[in-house]
């Protein structure tokens, strides 16, 4: 095998290794190599069923737009052979929107879609500003030094989600742990364990918690997302138990780690690029483009997968019916053919055709919410920064799916 071939193979295999996400820059360098030399790359990694790794922005876009050919089921996210077999033999423990295809997907998505429309999110403005202000006040209280990731970025989005679901602040710690274990189950610092039994235990905990919530919202509906889900109907019938619990779980988890990662990673980028921080401080009207640039830069969701229902040719390579493709969002978001200077963090970037929220019918339900959260937060923080600096080594979570920084030590002085 030539050197290049060996490098490409290693780059492809890296996608299946949780620790590689922790090497952020190296991870991106390897994706760049794949984009250049083998953009439709067959991965045959140890312990995993084979899949095609797609790294070009245009290709990811093309596949996502063909949702009649490329389905989410039966393999919406990457898992090892053991877990894939377990799902095949026992079915999925969860059935969320990402486990569905048409026509069910559209029917189930409608249950919560209204909640996430910009005009309805506007109602949350005041509460969100209050939570953002509390977070920044907390930074002040911590006395000029904190782990921005753990102390701030992880907390605020979860508080927002609790507010939306209508859950009391006393449930905060429990939800934090469960989400982290669910997504962080590959990181040695966070996980409860690594086996399928351990993950089943995490999901069981969620089941109990949300079943109780759901029963209470059925008997006494309140004006929150939890009530909308508890009383949701599909095909004119009440949501089934598994689908209902799955709905809670996806809104609670998908809305949490993703946004936390984007906030922490966005902060890191501003600290690593003081000129961009200054530019934003001097002109806060750049905030919306700055937030999208943070989301592009971090790409907190590392992939979703699709499985072909018929042969399909892309860049002269034929994906056969039954074969799966993995859409690498971090790669699509650094594509040299789509972005000018993709490796430059530019708070004024327009246009910004990133795919961090995916595309097409599965396009992130919470995209507007996530943007609004981030704008509200940075709108509070940026003008109050007098000085702020990195204060030691930062670290990324180990994952093959969702996540960002788990540690970001900073020192600062705020107004």
């Amino acid at each position: 095998m030539s050197d290049l071939q060996a490098q490409l193979e290693e780059a492809g295999n890296m996608i299946t290794v949780p620790a590689s996400w922790g090497t952020f820059d190296e991870f991106h360098a390897k994706l760049a190599l794949l984009r250049k030399h083998d953009p439709v790359h067959l991965v045959n990694a140890p312990d995993h069923y084979p899949f095609w790794l797609l790294t070009k922005n245009a290709d990811i876009f093309e596949i996502e737009a063909k949702s009649n050919i490329f389905l989410n089921e039966p393999r919406p996210i990457l898992a090892n052979v053991e877990a894939d077999d377990h799902t095949r033999n026992n079915g999925n423990m969860l059935r969320t929107l990402i486990h569905m295809d048409e026509p069910d997907h559209a029917e189930y998505r409608k249950v919560a879609a209204d909640w996430f429309l910009p005009k309805n999110l506007a109602r949350l403005d005041a509460r969100m500003s209050e939570l953002a202000k509390q977070s920044v006040d907390k930074m002040s209280d911590l006395g000029g030094k904190c782990d921005f990731s753990r102390d701030i970025a992880l907390q605020y989005p979860l508080q927002v989600i609790l507010a939306i679901l209508g859950l009391p602040e006393t449930d905060y710690q429990r939800m934090l742990m469960l989400t982290q274990e669910m997504f962080g189950n590959a990181d040695p610092d966070l996980q409860r364990g690594t086996t399928i039994e351990d993950l089943t235990q995490v999901i069981n905990d969620f089941f109990i918690y949300f079943s109780e919530l759901s029963a209470s919202r059925k008997s006494t509906p309140t004006h929150d997302l939890a009530s909308t889900i508890a009383n949701g109907e599909v095909y004119d019938k009440p949501l089934g138990d598994v689908e209902m619990i799955s709905y809670y779980i996806i809104t609670a988890t998908a809305g949490h780690d993703t946004t936390s990662a984007a906030i922490a990673g966005g902060m890191l980028s501003l600290l690593q690029n003081p000129d961009q921080l200054k530019r934003l401080q001097d002109d806060m009207s750049l905030l919306p483009t700055a937030v999208d640039e943070m989301i592009r830069w971090v790409s907190p969701v590392t992939h979703f997968m699709r499985t072909a229902t018929e042969d399909y040719t892309i860049r002269n390579t034929t994906i056969k019916a039954g074969e799966s493709v993995l859409l690498s969002y971090p790669s699509g978001n650094r594509d040299e053919d789509t972005f000018t200077d993709p490796f430059k963090f530019d708070v004024g970037r327009t246009p910004n055709r990133h795919l961090a929220f995916g595309f097409g019918i599965h396009y992130c339900l919470g995209a507007m919410l996530a943007r609004m959260e981030m704008r509200t937060f940075f709108n509070e923080l940026i003008p109050r920064i007098k000085t702020m600096e990195l204060a030691g080594d930062y670290a990324h979570i180990h994952t093959t799916f969702v996540g960002g920084l788990k540690r970001l030590p900073v020192t600062y002085s705020l107004k």
């Binding site: 737009a65 595309f359 019918i361």
Partner: protein, 63 residues
């Protein structure tokens, strides 16, 4: 062909604009604008693709 967007459903994702910029545009104010209500028939395929990919089902095509 007549393009109708239900603005009560549209979530300003910009998906349609990426598929068919001749007809759809999301401006910096965050709203979607339909640039032409009655696009030429040669744009039909792209408009149909945009409608199929709209995550909220906000786009319909009349005749």
């Amino acid at each position: 062909m007549k393009v109708v967007v239900d603005f009560d459903l549209c979530a300003s994702t910009g998906g349609c604009a990426r598929i068919c910029p001749e007809v759809f545009e999301v401006r910096t104010d965050g709203y979607l604008y339909v640039l032409q209500d009655n696009p030429d028939d040669e744009l039909r395929d792209k408009v149909v693709e945009a409608a199929e990919n709209c995550p909220t089902g906000a786009i319909t095509i009349e005749d």
